[in-house]
């Protein structure tokens, strides 16, 4: 049974992390970030009231938020292309983490929905959550070299997806 003090405590502990998780993936578009954060929490309330609070609430919340983001960006026509240049978009598939370019972040979020989940997670960790290769390697329990290899292959796939978006839209600004 979820009690009010418990709800307040979990909310206080997780709201910043959840919001940041969502906001980075939608390029800091506040209205999208607020709607998805809110929707995630309302779903959490319904589920936790019925089934109890999960062991790691933030993991539950970010998983649901990721699915909601994927729904939001599942269709390319829902992704704003205004102001996104071809160079900046394709640079997102290169090695550096994505900056605070809302358009690029949203297009990458869209492209990630087309990738196998494991590769998408890896790219998210690198591009959005800005983990270093060494941190990801530690989390996955493999060598940095192995992560670099996986990242390279995932980036190639991401680049192909982004090129598909470009072709579908007939080039960008």
């Amino acid at each position: 049974m979820l009690t009010e003090p418990e709800l307040l405590r979990i909310y206080a502990d997780t709201i910043d992390a959840l919001y940041a998780f969502v906001s980075r993936r939608c390029g800091g578009i506040r209205e999208v970030a607020e709607d998805i954060t809110q929707d995630t929490w309302l779903r959490a309330l319904r589920d936790w009231r019925a089934h109890g609070v999960p062991e790691v609430p933030i993991a539950w919340l970010t998983t649901v938020a990721r699915n909601l983001l994927a729904n939001t960006y599942r269709h390319p026509e829902q992704v704003p292309l205004d102001g996104v240049t071809q160079e900046r978009l394709l640079a997102a598939a290169d090695e550096q983490p994505i900056g605070d370019d809302a358009g690029v972040a949203q297009l990458v979020s869209y492209a990630l929905t087309k990738l196998p989940p494991a590769e998408a997670r890896l790219l998210e960790a690198f591009h959005f959550d800005r983990f270093k290769v060494a941190q990801i390697a530690e989390a996955y329990g493999v060598s940095e070299r192995a992560i670099e290899g996986r990242l390279r292959r995932a980036r190639e796939r991401l680049r192909r997806e982004l090129e598909t978006v470009l072709k579908a839209q007939g080039g960008l600004a």
Binding site: L2, T3, E4, P5, L7, L8, R9, Y11, I15, D16, Y19, A20, S23, R24, G28, R30, E31, V32, A33, E34, D35, T37, Q38, D39, W41, L42, L45, R46, R49, T72, H75, E77, Q78, V79, P80, L81, D82, G99, D100, A102
Partner: protein
């Protein structure tokens, strides 16, 4: 570039979502989202809006935004107007019932308590209609659903939150009068031996609850004024409101627990005298346990709220 705070929730959003979640948890149901501003973004917007934007020399995005805002305003206002019509229908019904109660009282068919209750209901319905009109005025001014948070901003210098609180206060005053009338009658009945002690206590509790509701509204009004005048942080305003409400809930739960204890004591005597079944006595015992559980839960919440630090 976007500043660092871009990926942090605003205090207003934090507080509003927390409030909604607590309300939803208490109601045992899901709630309407704070706003429904986000719809899937479409690349191609209304052709007319684009054309208008180009003709007027303003940006396409601005024109599209205006169209969206107008659509949203129309949609919110239409929903509120439906609610107002419903409130008006309920008012008509309450008016008829109040008239009927007064006529019956005139021929001695009902007591003054029935009349007071009908008049309280009538007043509550009148206030519901007035509140619906306020909501519509606010929605027309903001193109969004009315906001009732303590920290909600003034709308064109108008304080809709305070206006709604004042209307609630009028309704609570009327309920207090009805509760006083009910207690007076219960006291007369008790003195004449026609009313049980438990019923009298119940009427006393109802009066205290009505007084509490009125006090809470007065305190909310003060908090609202302070929030606007001193520009209180939304988190602080929300925390103080939650504390007030929790304190009020604790007082109510304590009174209900007292009543449950009294009923159980009477039931035990009746059980010994053979005038009450064991099943009924068990029900009262269960009720007492539920009241104890509820009070403990509320005390825990109050403690958690009091431990939260001021921003």
């Amino acid at each position: 570039m976007i500043d660092q705070d871009t990926h942090a929730p605003t205090p207003e959003f934090r507080a509003a979502l927390e409030r909604r979640l607590i309300d939803a948890l208490r109601a045992g149901d899901s709630v309407t989202p704070i706003t429904s501003r986000h719809a899937p973004r479409r690349r191609w917007r209304t052709a007319a809006a684009i054309a208008a934007g180009l003709l007027l020399g303003v940006s396409v995005n601005f024109a599209a935004g205006q169209v969206q805002q107008n659509k949203q305003r129309d949609s919110v206002v239409a929903t509120l107007e439906l609610q107002q019509q419903l409130a008006a229908l309920k008012l008509d019904l309450a008016r008829s019932e109040a008239d009927l109660a007064r006529r019956k009282f005139g021929v001695g068919a009902v007591s003054s308590v029935t009349v007071a209750a009908a008049e309280a209901e009538l007043r509550a319905r009148e206030i519901a209609v007035a509140k619906a009109a306020l909501d519509i005025a606010e929605a027309q001014a903001t193109a969004a659903a009315p906001r009732d948070e303590m920290w909600a901003k003034l709308v064109n210098g108008r304080d809709f939150v305070l206006e709604r609180l004042k209307l609630d206060e009028q309704s609570a005053s009327q309920r207090l009068l009805a509760a006083k009338a009910a207690l007076d009658e219960a006291q007369r009945g008790f003195q004449a031996g026609a009313v049980m002690q438990a019923h009298l206590t119940e009427m006393q509790l109802a009066l205290q609850s009505a007084q509490d509701d009125l006090d809470l509204l007065a305190r909310k009004e003060l908090l609202r004024r302070e929030t606007i005048e001193k520009k209180l942080h939304p988190d602080d305003a929300t925390r103080r409101l939650q504390q007030m409400e929790a304190q009020s809930d604790v007082r109510r739960a304590q009174r209900e627990l007292g009543l449950a204890q009294q009923r159980l004591a009477i039931a035990s005597a009746q059980l010994r005298a053979g005038t009450m079944s064991e099943l009924d006595a068990k029900r009262l015992e269960l009720n007492l346990l539920e009241r104890q559980g509820e009070l403990a839960k509320l005390m825990q919440l109050l403690k958690a709220l009091e431990q939260r630090k001021e921003k």
